[in-house]
């Protein structure tokens, strides 16, 4: 059939089909297959292309990112950005001079008043959990949302597709450490110590350097070490998906509620009934101790969940 090529039929064609070339390009780069399959397909296509090219057929169009001007532009833009940032950095106030923080009102206030107003010997904890508690509240939800996203992508829990779960388990068996004697003997001593040390850092957060974030990370590391040495079965005796869910949910709810109470009374200038206590005591600084514990729980759960999701896709 003779293809009509007058303006009107081309217009009609465009009305109904749009630009074909762009679409094939799109289908090339995005197919519905799983990532692994997709990479395989891509390799195959590349090989095919090479074949056709060597046969002397018309040379395939080079991809956008392969062209020399694209690469040159990328390098030039990167270099100029680096240059610009270095140029700016040289013009920042010099470190350690009186100019460093031109207006150091905040720093002075924090150093002078944190102990008296919050009861925290560790000023950093006082600042992040009290003065700027709202930022920290957001920050712990950043961890939570990171876990949610990873669960959304990788979790095979409750998956209808039985094959997928079996596959995940099979992979796991493949990588499961096989009762490594050295690892187990070391972990038998190290993991309880790590866990206790993590708890110490959390509970001492308002008195000495540390707090929920660092202590929680240590707790999480201890859990991961234990899991690595002794496997899922033994870990599941005390830490399952259920534990993870309830601990993190309760910690976050408590955190939000406590901070909410604090914000509400603060903004309305109401008496909140929480006293800073005697500075230096373990039970002091009002809400900071339980808040630190909540943050620690969230961080530990997040670390362990991320690890196990990337490894097996299930607890």
């Amino acid at each position: 059939m003779k293809k009509k090529n007058d303006a009107f039929s081309r217009l009609l064609d465009w009305l109904e089909n749009g630009d074909q070339a762009l679409d094939t390009e799109m289908e090339d780069s995005l197919s519905d297959a799983s990532p692994a399959e997709h990479i395989k397909q891509k390799k195959k296509k590349k090989a095919d292309k090479r074949k056709t090219a060597s046969k002397g057929a018309s040379a395939p169009r080079r991809a956008y990112a392969d062209s020399w001007w694209y690469r040159t532009c990328a390098v030039v833009i990167c270099l100029s950005l680096i240059g610009l940032l270095l140029f700016t950095a040289l013009r920042l106030p010099e470190f350690g001079t009186a100019d460093t923080l031109i207006d150091s009102e905040l720093t002075e206030y924090y150093v002078e008043h944190t102990l008296e107003e919050t009861g925290a010997v560790n000023i950093v904890t006082g600042i992040i959990l009290d003065y700027r508690g709202f930022d920290t509240l957001g920050e712990s939800h950043v961890l939570f949302i990171a876990v949610c996203t990873v669960l959304l992508m990788l979790s095979v829990r409750g998956e209808k597709n039985e094959a997928l779960r079996l596959k995940a388990n099979e992979y796991e068996r493949h990588f499961e450490p096989e009762d490594d004697l050295i690892l187990q003997s070391a972990a038998r001593i190290l993991s309880p110590l790590t866990l206790v040390f993590g708890l110490y850092i959390i509970f001492n957060g308002h008195l000495s350097p540390g707090g929920g974030f660092s202590g929680g990370a240590i707790l999480g590391a201890g859990l991961i070490l234990y899991q690595n040495a002794f496997g899922y079965e033994k870990t599941e005796r005390f830490f399952t998906y259920k534990t993870f869910r309830w601990v993190s949910v309760c910690a976050l709810l408590f955190y939000s509620a406590a901070k909410g109470y604090h914000f509400f009374t603060g903004a309305n200038h109401l008496e909140n009934g929480i006293s800073p206590g005697v500075a230096g005591n373990i039970l002091s600084a009002g809400l900071l101790l339980p808040l630190n514990f909540a943050v620690g729980c969230v961080v530990a759960c997040t670390m362990y969940a991320l690890y196990t999701m990337f490894r097996k896709g299930e607890f």
Partner: protein, 500 residues
């Protein structure tokens, strides 16, 4: 002084979603979906009340987060402008959830629905926090939350395509966040403050003494660049079409009309409250103007070349983001007001376009090439109507939101005068013509007669009550934005004046 009851609302508008997010992750999927619907409805109500009181009293108030207020603690600030933007965003969120409900049940596995609920709740909270915050670093924290949340929304349907687009989205957006953080820390290093009012005063002080001008401009430039990447201003738009085109309908609607606008609203806040007109008037705006004008035209050119309806709608977002930045870059009060107006108008129209495009696609055997969509508007009349209204609004037919905002943009351009006026008017004219080309084409294709679908496909066409509700609500919203242009613009201007 204690706060009146409604002045406590902002705290709860941020805290409730946070707590719901934690609770959702422990709920069953269906319950979680009910929670997010109820939550966004509550959010609408709260924002409405705030808007009513702040606009009536022509006042803005500061809410200290803790006993110790500025400049040592965190603060929220609420005025008419914040409340209005928040109201628009939460309305869009509610309608997006309702309108994409059916699709959501298909795309997101039941065992993942509770996580989808959590993520949406956190996004809601981030929305409220970024709209209300009076503190630059708090804004950054919630930028992080909304970035990760949007990534989760994209890959929720968990297909090969969405994973790729989510990865691309993540890389570009983290780049944007990084640049923003770099600018923020540079600014903190120079001024020693993070709260907007103190920051603004310190910046003015620095400018008057002509101290550290280069790092100062650079920090604002980096923040602008970060926001431009995150909201897909023209040359940084490459992540957008895949992300919006492949995600489930609710996600695309939320991403395009809530998340990217949120960053722009934050940028407006930074410009008006931290930078002040001077920094901004001297350096940044001319550059922005050119990018915006390029985006308005190139976004439309790309949209014309698309073969898929959703991708076309996604590319038209690039053009519309250009309009918003055009308003901002004029550097006048009228320009800012027009930009905010366009944020509202475009949110209302774009959410509707994505939702109805999804519905049309469902009615065409789940394909969204123009060839497959022929006559689909006749099969699902409600979606066809919604799409047509949305398209008309974007093109700028009088009586709809898009017309009002384009009018205000043009008049702000005329007010600016000189070369700027020429660029604004030319870009508006060319872009509108291109808009007409692709929107008209898609509407024509949708209403072309075609033989009915096969019997087997009829089951998809069951009525979708939630979609109808959402579509009617959005059409009404568009009409309100189109017909009540004057009062709404006044409200925005009132809010902007209270900003300073």
């Amino acid at each position: 002084m204690t706060m009146t009851w409604w002045q406590n609302l902002p705290l709860f508008l941020i805290l409730c979603p946070l707590m719901c997010a934690a609770a959702c992750s422990a709920l069953k999927g269906k319950a979680a979906r009910a929670v997010i619907t109820a939550l966004s409805a509550l959010e609408c109500a709260g924002m409405g009340i705030l808007l009513y009181y702040t606009a009536k009293g022509n006042e803005s108030f500061v809410y200290a987060m803790g006993e110790i207020g500025a400049p040592f603690g965190n603060e929220l600030r609420v005025g008419p402008l914040e409340a209005l933007t928040g109201l628009a965003f939460s309305l869009v969120l509610l309608t997006a959830i309702l309108g994409g409900w059916q699709r959501l049940t298909q795309d997101v596995a039941p065992n993942r629905m509770n996580l989808y609920g959590s993520v949406t709740c956190l996004l809601t909270s981030a929305m409220a926090a970024m709209v209300f915050t009076n503190d630059l670093f708090t804004a950054y924290v919630f930028i992080e939350i909304s970035t990760i949340a949007s990534c989760a929304l994209i890959c929720a349907s968990n297909k090969g395509k969405t994973l790729f687009s989510a990865a691309r989205y993540m890389i570009m957006n983290l780049m944007g966040s990084g640049l923003f953080l770099l600018g923020l820390s540079m600014l903190y290093c120079l001024t020693g403050h993070l709260l907007f009012p103190q920051l603004g005063a310190a910046v003015r002080g620095l400018l008057e003494g002509d101290r550290y001008p280069i790092p100062l401009y650079m920090s604002f430039l980096l923040m602008t660049l970060g926001v431009a990447i995150k909201s897909a201003l023209y040359p940084f738009h490459t992540w957008l079409p895949d992300a919006y085109g492949n995600a489930t309908a609710t996600s695309s609607a939320v991403l395009s009309s809530l998340v990217s606008k949120l960053y722009i609203f934050l940028l407006i806040k930074i410009f008006l409250r931290a930078a002040g007109w001077e920094v901004f008037a001297r350096r940044i705006e001319d550059v922005l103007l050119l990018y915006a004008a390029a985006g308005m035209i190139m976004g439309s050119v790309h949209a014309i070349r698309q073969r898929h309806l959703t991708r076309m709608v996604a590319y038209s977002s690039v053009a519309q983001i250009g309009y918003i930045f055009l308003g901002i870059s004029l550097g006048t009060e009228a320009g800012m007001a027009a930009a905010v107006y366009h944020i509202l108008a475009h949110s209302a129209a774009k959410a509707m376009l994505f939702l109805s495009a999804n519905r049309l696609r469902e009615a065409s055997g789940d394909e969204d090439t123009f060839a497959a969509l022929r006559g689909s508007a006749l099969r699902v009349p409600m979606a066809g109507l919604a799409f047509t209204v949305g398209a008309c609004s974007l093109v700028g037919i009088p009586g709809l939101g898009g017309f009002a905002s384009k009018l205000y943009l043009a008049s702000a351009g005329v007010e600016a005068g000189g070369l700027r006026m020429a660029i604004v008017l030319a870009a508006l004219a060319v872009s509108t013509l291109l808009n007409v080309a692709y929107m008209l084409r898609s509407v024509l294709v949708l209403y072309r007669k075609k033989e009915e679908l096969k019997e087997t496909d009829q089951s998809i066409l069951c009525r979708d009550g939630f979609f109808a509700v959402a579509a009617v609500a959005l059409i009404l919203l568009n009409l309100v934005l189109g017909l009540l242009g004057g009062p709404i613009l006044q409200l925005i201007e009132q809010g902007i004046r209270l900003f300073a």
